[in-house]
Symmetry: C2
């Protein structure tokens, strides 16, 4: 099944267009998890890796039945070196076991031959002799479009071969995204030009839901831009960061959705995974409760918006 159809199915079943971002920072993990890990392995990257996977496992157990997908941000794992990336890998696998769609937030891109290697690494397979391996098993990955179509092509091939997907950075949520992305070309901002590319790249992978396996990252922190982008990419699923810790609200986010109530998944990372720091609950209870609150917040805003 086309990945966008899998996503739509899960969103409908769970009535939840929410993605939990798994961005683990060791010193923010619950004391108990860190203590157990350090007791075994000392103050090492291995201890951090173990603790991170333990933490993520607990989070996934707490929210797998109320969200369609999780989004591990690979930078937070890379900083812990090899043990960190082992935790990334184990997190992806565990989330998949629990039936979740895994969005690897990797923001890769490079010239054709190198993009081929990245696409094999994250949504494809790598051959060693006659055997094939999944190096890092994501279902969908985020992609940076700065280098153009030939950086995207290898990913499009993997989408077709393995029922995978991509979200292309169109308009990102960070404050300085305007510096490059908002530059105007004959009065049209660059991000709209990228949106046109995304529309083209996605034409051949539209599922029965009407949505393509080629989606777009559109930051919730720019609601006016979002309205325009929704019209320019009717078939693209939007991955929407910026809710919560980055400042966007549910009323900013409604413009990411189409009239069918579909077309977007909203991510929250820190607001969910570190909710326990402002609560008397365990980190798992706090994560579940804040996910449910976010779901309620967004579903209400969507109903009002209809």
């Amino acid at each position: 099944m086309v990945i966008s159809d899998q996503l739509v199915q899960q969103i409908k079943e769970k009535e939840s267009p929410i993605v939990v971002g798994l961005d683990p920072q060791y010193e923010q993990l619950p004391n108990l998890i860190r203590e157990i890990s350090e007791k075994k392995r000392g103050e090492t990257l291995e201890a951090a890796g173990d603790a991170i996977f333990e933490f993520n496992k607990g989070l996934i157990d707490a929210i797998y039945d109320i969200v369609p997908a999780v989004k591990p941000q690979i930078a937070y794992y890379e900083q812990y070196g090899i043990p960190g990336l082992i935790a990334y890998q184990k997190t992806c696998r565990y989330a998949k076991e629990k039936g979740l769609i895994v969005i690897g937030d990797i923001k890769r891109s490079d010239i054709g031959s190198t993009s081929e290697a990245y696409s094999r690494a994250h949504i494809g397979k790598t051959a060693v002799g006659s055997c094939n391996f999944e190096a890092f098993p994501a279902d969908i990955v985020t992609i940076n479009p700065y280098m153009g179509t030939d950086t995207i092509r290898p990913f499009l091939e993997k989408i077709e071969a393995y029922e995978k997907g991509i979200f292309v950075l169109v308009k990102t949520s960070n404050p300085s995204s305007n510096e490059i992305q908002d530059q105007c070309i004959r009065k049209i901002p660059l991000y709209e030009k990228v949106a046109e590319c995304v529309y083209g790249w996605g034409k051949d992978s539209i599922g029965s839901s009407g949505y393509s396996a080629v989606g777009a990252v559109v930051g919730a922190t720019y609601p006016e831009e979002m309205k325009k982008l929704r019209l320019l990419m009717p078939n693209a699923y939007f991955l929407v960061p910026g809710y919560g810790a980055q400042g966007a609200t549910a009323s900013d986010i409604v413009h990411a959705f189409n009239k069918d109530g579909l077309g977007a998944v909203v991510n929250s990372s820190r607001g969910i995974i570190y909710a326990y720091q402002k609560s008397a609950q365990t980190y798992q209870e706090a994560a579940r409760q804040s996910t449910l609150l976010m779901k309620k917040d967004i579903m209400e805003a969507l109903r009002k918006h209809k």
Copy 2:
């Protein structure tokens, strides 16, 4: 010492503005290396990782005295999963032991907090309790500018704290780099706008050589654009891909250099590391010989150009 001064020193000592790109593809490695590795570990990612490090070690031994730097492209390691990234790490460490500057070709970027994690991972340090670790030990890394200044700032902080450097993608060597990078804003192409940013980002890290720790990636496949970019970023070192396998010649490349004969390092990957496939020599002899030929080719073109 500022990293650009270290680079200039090595280039002068070795009379060689050449970077060898370490982009290992398992099936292209010499039969003997693969056979030994597979005998021990079967057709596994571990076998690929071992073989890749063995291959790279041989390459480094063959060229460390005639080039200032090597550039492992991390995508080629990521595709072999954890064993691939162990090979990346060991390659970086071995090259540094041999006195080489390591350019990690990672092309990362993300929102501020995530870029902080990437910068820690590749040119900084990661804390676990009271201990600090170098996750992936590069000296300089490549960075994608699509998300703007706040994605660059954490890297600039690491440059200052740890004497590291970055090369920002300005005009890449691939055929479709025009799609985004050549879009004109009030008659000025986007890549020139990025060049202005690079100039600004690099102002605070200029060494005694006159060059900044913030450099630029400028593809050799676009010589006309290169001429303009050289004038726009006088203090930036250029990392120049595209020579050899991608089609650019020494006469295309001369425009990347300043009048002092400095200001650029030219990369070749496939043309050097797989030179043995078109030769009766060992892969080490062939790599050394093709590096020396490339050096001669470029130094002659530079003399003519003066």
